[in-house]
């Protein structure tokens, strides 16, 4: 059996950090670790994965893989699994990763644990911890089929460098243009100088307490000082102050940064679902009874319009 496979998340050569998190986690198992990378031309990336312990790099190259499309990627990965029999295949719990893993799992008539926050893999047995009911409960599940399939939440696992051989393997190409059923017309990247919300080390979020675009500006100034991503509660999204893709919570993004700062956010249960597993949480709120303080490591009962500008000055000192 050929160890643990990690499906690389990349677009145009920009590799998502969750890829390194998965490689580092896979390395702990002790089995051979392989990175599987799809794209038009990807061999040049191999050394990147070797730095995080990849013993092998499956470079899956071809025009049909230029952009993620479920049909071709699933056809190809299914053929590779049949040929090489990995013990486990880990995907990122991104939009693409969960789409890919779900369709593959069904094609193999296999189980799949999605959005895992902890992994226990041994001898082909895979047990995963999942946060359910928006983080209000935890389920431990075992995938009883082979290979063990799972998608991993970004930001939870530590990245650790370790040298791997990074031997490039060029698998036989099984997918053809005939496997493609989603005709991609366009992809417009979100133009932002800020990091991706789900990948950022620090997230600064603004809620209804920001009272309007001017308040959001204050939040953004702090975010930029910290090189952070900006997020929002549903109240500030629904008010049109921030784009939908920036909503944090049960019906938005789940984020797991090192530091989450909630400004003018009450801490409704649906918001907590998206951020309560952050490593450090700070809250700025005028209401001492706001539930956000129950999950905060550091809370200040104060007006964000006064505190944040002073905070920025203090931090710049």
């Amino acid at each position: 059996m050929a160890g643990t496979w990690v499906i690389v998340e990349q677009r145009d050569g920009n590799i998502r950090k969750v890829t390194y998190e998965m490689l580092s986690e896979a390395k702990k198992i002790g089995d051979e670790v392989s990175a599987v990378v799809f794209g038009k031309s990807v061999e040049g990336m191999a050394s990147e994965f070797a730095k995080y312990g990849a013993d092998k790099v499956y470079a899956v190259e071809g025009d049909v893989f230029a952009e993620y499309n479920t049909g071709a990627y699933v056809a190809q990965l299914a053929a590779m699994i049949a040929e090489y029999s990995p013990n486990a295949v880990l995907f990122a719990h991104t939009f693409n990763g969960r789409d890919f893993a779900s369709r593959l799992a069904q094609k193999l008539e296999a189980g799949l644990a999605t959005d895992a926050i902890a992994v226990e893999l041994s001898a082909g047995r895979g047990v995963f911890t999942r946060a359910i009911y928006a983080g209000k409960a935890i389920a431990k599940v075992e995938v009883t089929t082979n290979p063990v399939l799972a998608t991993i939440r970004a930001g939870v696992m530590e990245v650790a460098e370790s040298a791997g051989a990074g031997a490039v393997v060029k698998p036989a190409i099984a997918a053809t243009a005939g496997d493609v059923y989603q005709n991609i017309k366009s992809f417009v990247p979100t133009v932002s100088a800020r990091p991706d919300l789900t990948e950022a080390e620090t997230v600064v979020s603004g809620g209804r307490g920001c009272k309007g675009p001017d308040g959001i500006k204050i939040v953004e100034t702090l975010a930029d000082l910290l090189g952070a991503a900006v997020g929002g509660s549903r109240a500030s999204i629904d008010s049109g102050w921030l784009g939908h893709e920036l909503q944090v919570g049960q019906t938005g993004k789940v984020v797991c940064p090192n530091l989450y700062i909630a400004a003018g956010i009450s801490g409704a249960i649906q918001h907590l679902a998206g951020m309560s597993s952050s490593k450090f949480i700070a809250a700025i709120n005028t209401d001492p009874e706001a539930p956000i303080f129950n999950v905060s490591d550091f809370g200040v009962v104060a007006d964000l319009f006064k505190v944040i500008p002073t905070l920025c000055t203090e931090l710049k000192k």
């Binding site: 779900s102 075992e142 059923y181 679902a273």
Partner: protein, 250 residues
């Protein structure tokens, strides 16, 4: 054309979760339609209003209680419902098998679903259904145009917005930002009582995933809370960020 919408009944997002005998306790919990599925139902009804489709069918798998979710969708404006009775304890694979079997009999042109359930949150079922039925799928849409036997979907993608086209029939899953679901009107609620709902037993399928245990998340330790002048708050917060979190300032 016919659209079929998969609706899952979930716990109210406000629900307090407790364990009883090692399982998630459901006594006294208010049940709702999964918020994403509400959006999918609204999307289906709007397709009918635009005369793109002429029938909206809702499908739910679960216990008898799921009938309430179907009735709510009917009150919003869907035409008829199908309840597939399935034991709790079915995993994503078994659920998808049961739903796909019912969908196959209906033979709809468009299958709508939510992209994720707000409770178990696996994001698997719609994509699995598409694979079982051998249909194209597209996930996390924020808009769809139907023309010439094709669905052109705008989707929220990782790091951007994607526009992709699939041939019908296809499975399409919704993002919440697609639309604003309507509240059922009094008239709608009355009419829903008379709309037809058929029930059938689920096709049997073995689980591929086993639950080892449920647990409560570790309780968060109470943190520091400072109630002082803004300047003092700012200074202390800055100190904590720099020395405890060890943040880097750009």
């Amino acid at each position: 054309m016919k659209v079929l919408v998969c609706v899952k009944q979930t716990f109210d997002t406000e629900a307090k979760i407790e364990l009883k005998d090692g399982k998630i306790a459901d006594a006294g919990i208010n049940l709702i339609i999964n918020p994403y599925d509400e959006v999918a139902v609204e999307g289906g009804i709007q397709l009918k209003e635009k005369k793109v489709v002429d029938e909206v069918v809702v499908l739910s798998a679960g216990s008898d209680k799921a009938m309430d979710a179907i009735r709510t969708a009917l009150a919003m404006g869907a035409d008829r419902g199908i309840l597939i009775k399935q034991d709790t304890g079915a995993d994503e694979y078994a659920r998808a098998i049961a739903l796909a079997a019912a969908i196959k009999e209906e033979n709809p042109d468009i299958i709508l679903a939510g992209h994720v359930a707000a409770d178990d949150g696996s994001s698997q079922v719609p994509t699995r259904i598409a694979e079982i039925l051998g249909l194209p799928h597209i996930n996390v849409i924020t808009n769809v145009e139907i023309a010439d036997g094709k669905a052109t979907c705008t989707c929220e993608a990782d790091g951007g917005t994607l526009v992709a086209e699939v041939a019908l029939p296809a499975v399409i899953s919704s993002q919440v930002s697609w639309n604003e679901p309507r509240y059922p009107s009094m008239k709608g609620i009355m009419q829903a009582k008379k709309k037809p709902v058929t029930t059938a037993d689920a096709v049997a399928a073995d689980n591929k995933v086993k639950i080892i245990e449920f647990a409560m998340p570790p309780a968060k330790q109470a943190g520091v809370k400072i109630d002082d002048e803004p300047d003092v708050c700012a200074a202390k917060l800055a100190d904590w960020m720099l020395n405890t979190v060890k943040i880097e300032v750009k």
